[in-house]
Symmetry: C3
Subunit: 426 residues, 3 copies
């Protein structure tokens, strides 16, 4: 296989405008304001902390953005080997005119100032969208987000439901739901109505997905309103639920979400496998890990019960990838979605991408989403994926199967963009 | 590593006549009659269904074979990327003179007719055996198969025992066993005698293996006849067994099989890890999936108790492969067997093949079996394996270890054929 | 990527003097005396047994070293494909002037005699240390080892604690502990004091780590002295503990070890995942296997409770590797350590090395340890690792990231040696 073939495929894939189907972008502040917005991404704070920088230094209240960056910089030398660092370097090189190959204690201040200049431009948000080839950016909205004040054609709402499923036992979450839907939530039927209201609100505002992240031990199952009705009343009276009752309530709400996805024709993004706050003293967003002992068999009843709901599924570990491949191969409503978090480094992406492309219908693999908090990250993250995708297309399809370059490219475009449109709606 | 080295190794491996040690061939109808026999293989129906074709369309009663193929064809474009599709294409090219690189709505009828012509030849079965280099084809026979009316030297019987272990609670299975052995099955001792009769019948007819597929949670253990004697009587009286009693009966029967394998000197093929009917509305044979949370530690007592029984083991997932490598490395009676079902695509085969070849005694890895239902699939499936085997031999042995090409080839021939003979009997 | 780049990186890595941070070397008999010492390594006896050689033949009491080797030799032809065999061959070629590429029934006696001559040299131990580039060799010492009579600057003591954690229920282990610390162990407080004595003794003698191997189902948790005090008294009275009480005692002792590691500033090597004596009739040291269903989540409380203790962690299977990568990425005190046992063959090392190098701070991966029982094994085992490391550096860093050769080499040296010094102490 020639390197020039990979290069040509990569260049063609680079030219394709993107829809990014899962991000954490705040549409009111989509682009970074300074280098601290970029280096404050948990990937850098958690890795610097992992390499020995105290959390108290990183998160000291009141320090300036520049001070924060200045504290992280010395630790960068210990994480230069990581893929995560390569995203940062590529951002600095592509957007801020940085020409060196390491960010050091000697050159960072100049870089910081260059970044300030670039990011201060009035039209920077438009510039970065254009340079990154981003046509649409899907959001992760809290259920009580007003979805107002931004262009929902560009920044596409998605209903994030972790709070509803796992934190409705907290009075503040119930109050947020009550307020968002303008309903008293005295009975479980009120909750059902409120959830329906949320779907109405979100789909009216162009939402394209319902989404949730799930712990490794979650097993959705049908729980009736009757089963949880009494628990709900007790919650309203300020009582605490037992673990079992809480689990039932979670399962009930989850099932309600799936039912509404069916009614409102929304894909239900499942991000399976994360345990929250495993490292309790970790930095912000750098505390979550997992138990790899989880299985898609836990979703058997769900997949069978909602044949018309599309389930784009992200798995946290490569050891779950073959299950995802097999379940997407058998279940019409299971779709392999992107390369998530701890599996979002090149060696895992390559294995997972290759195994999917050679076994699942090509219409059922959404190649990539950035999961970004700031727009600047789409370019290096998608580029990492495009490099790998080009390599797999060259090796497994052009070389091993004798496909024409053009045919391989069509497959690449399908997983990179076409499937986003067909699965989440054009 | 030069591509020409891989090519030379591949060509030499292609020339080796094969024994296929696990298939689902019906010896009375071994070859396909038409393209529907080929495209009716569950790999195509389940992938077409996964890509959106309704089960009712695929399995409508009374449609002609050509109509069935015609309904599947439009969905082929969505699965062209899969390894499974590449087998189909290779069959059409090798056997039916198909010269295009895609089967489409425009060219399929001509292909269908070409296939009809080829498959209608009187000696097609002999032709396909010869073209595929097949010297022997092992079968998967129901325990009550008469094993008559075919050449058991060519189509080698194997005693499949899923029904005995998991379905003896059903009266129709007990009746089949009673009829096959001409015994009343009043007591558990009668069952023991009946099972012994089956082994006598099968070994008299040249059987080379006892085989079973097992769910992920199965743990064989010694259960005495006394333990299940009362349950058996209750079954005979039309009563139902509890889950626990059913499990004990399964374990009892399984242990009986292992004991008979020891007495009759038969390898016991274990195919570990499949859950049946996970997708209840799936197409025929397209409903089974798995829970990857299984371990060979569950077979600890079995492997220790039957040191003289060879256990060729197939695992369903690549996450179980390292256990298989390690257990085959330690236990003399554990043998790594082929690349099964959801692990039978090139990326998984390559990893699993490479890890086995570099850690297990070379005499303890049976490289491949086709698992086919129709003879035409041996050629593309074995060829897929031979391509990967040639690559691994070239990279890991000729290149990395400095082996001569010839020595690498000898290793390849051993796992592809020699071990089948030494393990299952020549 | 050019092969010559890999070769240059490999050659540079070969020139780096080593500290081997985990071995089973007996400092009073560090080098082999004859070929039987080398071929008696469990890797060869267990593989020969796995390939069919009876345990009784291998372990017959009273046979001479040469007779033992003579019995193993005929089985070598069945394991020539393994990485384990390649270490043996490389030892014979590098140290004993063996010039053939297979050890056979025809050439072994000459080899045996050549080895005898070489190994009989007075300064062989120094020679092999020098030829292997070994500057320091860490040991695995029983808790009651006197640590006397050898150079602890060269052979660095490490406190192995399996017996304390898992076998203190046995009176002989309690007696060993009593004798080693010259204490009566009447109360649980006595045990705490005795353990502290061990740490004092070991650190006074230059110990650099506390180490333990753990079964897949072990979950450390804080157990107070009060909880186990009564159990301890009953043990002293010759009573047996229940499984639950034994587990509590294990957890109590384990937690004591961690507390002492904090006090004495010793890294705590955790080797996670092995089940002992799974194959009960296996050869010496060839009986252990595992259940892959284990997770680092079981160590959550430990990692959170001892932020200042470094935990270099070895996992037994590649299916646990991604957890190790992720936990080392998040927890400052979790370090990825080497490539252990069933994961110590090239395909697993390559995947595990690559995924670590691209996601963990480069200061938190200890590249390799030999785990050897005799000094001769350091050379081929480290060389196997260096080949893979050179390949990963060339591909993933020089080629894919555009790093200079020199920068890639610095990274290689860091994981091969620098991190051993910074983590275990210079």
């Amino acid at each position: 296989m020639s390197d020039s073939l990979v290069k040509r495929l990569f260049d063609e894939l680079e030219a394709l405008p993107l829809i990014d189907p899962h991000t954490h972008i705040n549409p009111h502040a989509a682009a970074s304001k300074n280098l601290a917005d970029i280096m404050g991404y948990h990937y850098y704070t958690e890795l610097a902390h992992s390499a020995g920088l105290a959390k108290e230094k990183i998160e000291e209240p009141g320090i300036s953005p520049k001070e924060k960056v200045g504290r992280l910089i010395p630790k960068l030398s210990t994480i230069e080997n990581t893929a995560q660092y390569s995203w940062l370097l590529e951002i600095c090189q592509e957007f801020f005119g940085f020409e060196e190959d390491r960010i050091t204690v000697d050159n960072w201040e100049k870089l910081y100032d260059q970044a300030d200049q670039v990011l201060a431009q009035d039209d920077w948000e438009q510039q970065v969208l254009k340079k990154s080839g981003l046509e649409q950016v899907y959001l992760t909205n809290d259920f009580d987000d007003a979805l107002a004040g931004f262009d929902t054609g560009l920044y596409v709402p998605c209903l994030r439901t972790d709070d509803l499923v796992f934190h409705l036992g907290k009075s503040e979450v119930r109050e947020r739901l009550s307020k968002a839907t303008d309903r008293e939530l005295g009975t479980i039927e009120d909750v059902q109505a409120a959830i329906r209201d949320l779907f109405t609100h979100f789909t009216k505002n162009g939402a394209r997905a319902c989404a949730i992240s799930l712990p490794p031990d979650f097993s959705p199952t049908l729980v009736s309103a009757n089963t949880v009705a009494a628990s709900w009343l007790r919650l309203g009276n300020g009582e605490k639920l037992s673990d079992c009752e809480s689990r039932e309530l979670s399962q009930f709400i989850f099932w309600q979400l799936a039912e509404n996805c069916a009614v409102f024709n929304l894909p239900f993004d499942l991000m399976i496998g994360v345990n929250r706050r495993v490292y309790e003293d970790g930095v912000f967003q750098g505390q979550d890990l997992y138990d790899k002992r989880t299985s898609l068999i836990q979703y058997r009843q769900l997949f069978n019960s909602f044949p018309r709901v599309k389930f784009p599924i992200s798995v946290l570990t490569t050891t779950s990838n073959q299950e995802l491949v097999s379940y997407a191969w058998i279940f019409p409503n299971v779709i392999a979605n992107g390369h998530w978090w701890y599996s979002n480094t090149p060696p895992y992406i390559e294995t997972d991408c290759r195994t999917r492309l050679t076994a699942i219908p090509q219409t059922k693999y959404v190649g990539y989403y950035s999961d970004m908090y700031k727009l600047e990250f789409a370019l290096p993250k998608f580029r990492m994926y495009r490099r790998i995708l080009a390599k797999v297309l060259a090796q497994d399809f052009v070389q091993d199967r004798g496909w024409s370059e053009n045919r391989a490219l069509e497959l690449g475009k399908l997983v990179l963009r076409g499937n986003v449109e067909s699965i989440f709606g054009g």
